[in-house]
């Protein structure tokens, strides 16, 4: 198992350097003069211009600039935001738990519902339920989620008045961010009603963000389950006199989950991209909203290293999924 992890880790390093190259290039590719763009004004005084070029290290040859960039990254220096003068890394750390909480809630929603719907659809293949699941999941897969979010707000928040429209918690509550997860922090704060309020704030964004993964997971579970149920070892399990539930869940689902898990991993990318949209719709203070605002404000250090951090996150999650994949699938683990 350790050598398996080491092998996967080895594959990670070139990808990481590739991504740094990409984000490095990002800033250099901005059309026009970088200093003018960053200062947001035209015709900068030549002396100041040269000084800025030097301060930013832009007067050196490109390989040296890249080396500077990598060295700074290695030292944990991700630069600071032009707007807030705060470190990019610190800003990321404060905002990331919000995105993580939202993403986990979305995955929980998509994973449980998707697997259950997929399994039932496979077991009742050709039934009305099966057709329903497939139809809904195709629609979910084609869903513009920014519109879906607006629709849900329109119905649940505006029309029914059940859920709040935006943010993570009502302004009435003053919650100390201990873990960064609003659900946990509200529980710790012992403020009455705070947990419920946080939960109500979370539900709609989580559903919106989970919609596409839900559709993909339901489809994948169904087809994987159909395939697994035809396998010989399912017949063996039945011949052992095991209960249908045990045959389906212990012997069937376990094997069907292997491809589903891969898809699950691929959905993390979708999820982070979706988080950009979802957080914008629901004013959810996470890294997606942060990034879009930074782009709007031409806050290039945040844009550059925010993207780098998100890319690393995706790479990291895919790595973890790879390891998990090895855990559920013994055949992969033992490959040379």
């Amino acid at each position: 198992m350790l050598s398996f992890i080491a092998r996967r880790l080895g594959l990670l390093i070139p990808t990481f350097f590739g991504v740094t190259l990409l984000t490095f290039a990002l800033i250099r590719l901005i059309p026009g003069d970088p200093v003018e763009v960053m200062m947001g004004e035209r015709r900068v005084d030549p002396e100041m211009h040269a000084e800025a070029m030097h301060r930013l290290g832009l007067d050196k040859p490109l390989p040296a600039q890249y080396l500077d960039y990598i060295t700074k990254l290695a030292q944990g220096d991700l630069g600071e935001s032009l707007r807030t003068r705060e470190g990019v890394w610190e800003e990321f750390l404060t905002l990331f738990p919000a995105t993580l909480e939202l993403s986990l809630a979305a995955l929980l929603f998509a994973g449980t519902l998707g697997v259950i719907a997929g399994v039932i659809a496979a077991l009742k293949r050709g039934s009305l339920f099966d057709h329903g699941v497939m139809g809904v999941s195709l629609a979910g897969y084609s869903m513009p989620i920014f519109w879906w979010g607006l629709l849900l707000i329109m119905f649940f928040s505006v029309y029914l008045g059940w859920t709040p429209v935006s943010g993570r918690i009502d302004l009435l509550y003053d919650i100390e961010p201990k873990t960064g997860f609003m659900l946990i922090d509200t529980l710790l704060s012992e403020e009455e009603g705070a947990f419920k309020d946080a939960l109500m704030h979370l539900i709609l964004p989580a559903i919106v963000l989970g919609t596409i993964p839900l559709a993909v997971i339901a489809r994948m579970t169904r087809s994987a389950m159909l395939e697994v149920l035809r396998e010989d070892y399912i017949r063996t399990a039945r011949a052992k006199g095991l209960s249908p539930a045990r045959v389906v869940f212990v012997h069937g689902l376990r094997n069907a989950l292997i491809p589903v898990l891969t898809v699950f991993g691929l959905q993390v990318g979708t999820l982070l991209a979706g988080a950009v949209l979802t957080e914008t719709i629901f004013s959810w203070p996470g890294i997606g909203k942060w990034l879009i605002e930074a782009i709007g404000a031409r806050d290039y250090p945040v844009v550059q290293n925010g993207i780098l951090l998100i890319a690393c996150l995706v790479i990291l999650v895919n790595f973890v999924v790879d390891i998990l994949y090895g855990l559920v699938n013994p055949r992969i683990r033992h490959q040379r």
């Binding site: 084609s142 513009p144 920014f146 982070l272 914008t280 879009i292 844009v303 993207i307 995706v314």
Partner: protein, 303 residues
């Protein structure tokens, strides 16, 4: 199962359907795909003849009729079938002109990624030692970023706008074409007909484009369809984020973004553009499913 012995064996050779007919039969077998095709034909018709189909100019403002509800609702006016937006522009006309824009973005970005994608994939497949690995690593890196985020990053550099939206989406969908083409090429290169062509003295360009490429087209066509739909979706998302096509151009996503403020008063300005996006994307995805079933013999009989 029909009884095949009803037809004399000698006549069967004459009954081979043309590839086009065979394809159509397989495609028409999938009802969802045909439905998607019909819907898309309507959209394409609207897009092509937008100035004649649309009742009004998309930017014409009727100051006396701001946020008019659709005609079937109380307060609706017959001249605005789907109502008007916050500036009194006819929603139906804007949607019809928006179709033009969305299809154009989709088509342009597919072409802009398909052609370089195929070329790079062919090169990567034909030179598995020299150029292949470096091209594939580059694609891996591009895939490390979720497509919408990469598009956002590209637009962040290039600045918002129609052309930059197309460029960003084209770049984002490049890796899938490269990977697909390369995989297909690698699969075909080992086949005997390629060896035969080599022995017959076919040069590299002929080998690439005449011998191998046609046999790799099926998955590429399917992928092109699917990335057409995701192009429309991504373009709308960029528009919604304010990074895509800028107002007052009637782009579906941009329309949604400006409609957000009227969510409590005018459901139609929010619902209708999104519904149009959903239906178009759904229709294209249904077509894509049908195409895959009809074109890809490997997947044809799976399930």
């Amino acid at each position: 199962m029909t009884q095949s012995n009803a037809v004399p064996a000698a006549d069967q050779a004459l009954l081979y359907p043309s590839p086009l007919k065979e394809f159509w039969q397989a495609f028409a077998h999938n009802k969802g795909a045909v439905g998607g095709l019909l819907f898309m034909l309507v959209i394409v018709f609207c897009a092509l003849f937008a100035p004649w189909v649309a009742p009004f100019d998309p930017s014409e403002q009727f100051r006396d009729a701001l946020l008019t509800p659709p005609s079937w609702l109380e307060g609706g006016q017959a001249r605005f079938p789907l109502g008007t937006d916050e500036l009194g522009r006819d929603l139906l006309s804007r949607l019809i002109h928006g179709a033009r824009l969305s299809l154009m973005i989709g088509l342009a970005s597919v072409l802009m990624s398909l052609i370089p994608g195929i070329l790079m994939g062919l090169v990567a497949g034909f030179f598995p030692r020299l150029l292949g690995p470096s091209i594939m690593r580059l694609m891996d890196i591009m895939l490390a970023l979720p497509s919408l985020l990469l598009a956002v990053a590209i637009v962040a550099i290039l600045g918002p706008g129609l052309i930059n939206t197309v460029i960003a989406i084209a770049i984002v969908s490049l890796p899938s074409y490269v990977r697909l083409t390369r995989a297909a090429v690698m699969g075909e290169l080992g086949r005997d007909y390629v060896t035969a062509a080599r022995l017959a003295g076919a040069g590299l360009p002929r080998l690439m484009f005449i011998t191998v490429l046609p046999n790799c087209m099926a998955p590429l066509i399917v992928q092109a369809t699917l990335s057409f739909s995701s192009a429309i979706l991504d373009a709308a998302a960029l528009g919604f984020l304010g990074l895509g096509v800028q107002p007052p151009t009637p782009e579906w996503g941009t329309m949604l973004a400006s409609a957000r403020d009227y969510i409590e008063r005018a459901w139609w300005v929010v619902s209708l553009p999104g519904l149009t996006i959903l239906l178009s994307v759904l229709a294209i995805n249904l077509m894509g499913d049908g195409l895959r079933d009809a074109l890809d013999p490997k997947l044809k009989n799976a399930q």
